[in-house]
Amino acid sequence: MKFVDEFRQRELAQGLAAAIGAEADSGRDYRLMEFCGGHTHAIFRYGIQDLMPANVSFVHGPGCPVCVLPMGRIDNAIKLAVEDEVILCIYGDLLRVPGSGRKSLMKVKASGGDVRMIYSSRDALDIAKANPDRQVVFFAIGFETTTPATAVALRQAAAEGLDNFTVFCNHVLTPAAMQTILESPEVRTTGSVKIDGFLGPSHVSTVIGSRPYEFCAGDYEKPVVIAGFEPLDVMQATLMLVRQLNTGRHEVENQYTRAVTRDGNRKAQRLVAEVFALRREFEWRGLGLVPDSALRIRSKFARFDAEQRFDVPPVSASDVKGCACPQILRGAAKPTDCKLFDTVCTPENPMGSCMVSSEGACAAYYSYGRFRPPQPDTEAAA
């Protein structure tokens, strides 16, 4: 596969590993937050940590849309499926996310709720057309990458007057989340979380460009390198961060130049701006209420907004007691620090959202790194 296989070559990985090993200053640590679950997945799936020197470590960030979705929104969706008896269209990622009382959409489906897994927002429109006598709700989640596809679906619903179709909008924004992490007491005051730099979002940045992270480098003096999701991308971006830190620079650099520009995809941005407006605040699991961090459907499209058509009360559901997802999502704890990890919380029976998504830090730790055997020195050290 072109543009995939080239970025998974072992020989280049060894070269990059050697370069990182040689250039990382043994007198200091490099703690790099990979913002996205896609990076987390690549790090575990390809065993990248093995190729790093001991003083370069990754802190897993909140960039997994399923993980940061507050439990109350799952409860809202369950209510739509059960009480309002809608056809609820969801991406497969959401099926097993626990709501309150350990209910999930998978359990709702098992007890007769009409929950349908889709691959694209276009499928939800097709389902609405095929079921004109039913209400069809698309449970939209995702960061800036996924939002434009929802915008297209809303515009099409409006153009075709598809009155039985609505969207339950849960789209969130990455720069606001990064800022919240940088403002968090663990990072700013107590210093209990040390983050030296960020591996910046890759596919989010294809849409919004690299410009929105410039505050991070400017105001907070943290280097950011936009990094692709292939393993060599992650390694090269790591090398770029090491070099910035070694020379005291804090800039936004772009490793993923084959798909990301400074300005991003203007057409997608226009579509999103036409359909969505900022929410004043939105709850993120782990980060709490974050100002200007999510989108709502503009009043022009209100008749396709599930929150207008149905009763969607704000639910403030509390997470399972002892679940460390909130701290893990802020980089303040590792999955293995959580008392529930691998005791009562497993991928088969997730207590927190980080265990649900395969991109969640807990699920990645569980599946790929749970009991990492001591590693022999890698080629990097040789």
Binding site: K2, F3, E6, A19, A22, T145, P148, Q236, R258
Partner: protein
């Protein structure tokens, strides 16, 4: 997050703004609503049934070249 894969455009239906893309031997129809001026043989990133952006071959090659150079830097050849 945000699973997206690079794929080659093999056909475009201008009337519906839908492209057939090929990822290796696998083919799928995706919407072109989010991108302008896509041509057959371009590579695009596919996410939830939409082409999200074009992929630049030149930039990809430049990135790979930087990776090769990093591995050959004098201080790292031991």
């Amino acid at each position: 997050m945000c699973l997206a894969v690079p794929a080659r455009v093999v056909a475009i239906d201008a009337a519906t703004d839908v492209a057939t893309i090929a990822l290796g031997e696998v083919r799928k129809d995706v919407s072109l609503a989010l991108v302008d001026d896509v041509a057959v043989d371009d590579f695009v990133l596919i996410h939830v049934g939409f082409a999200l952006s074009r992929i630049s071959s030149d930039e990809a090659e430049a990135t790979l070249e930087l990776m090769r150079e990093a591995g050959m830097a004098p201080e790292t050849t031991s």
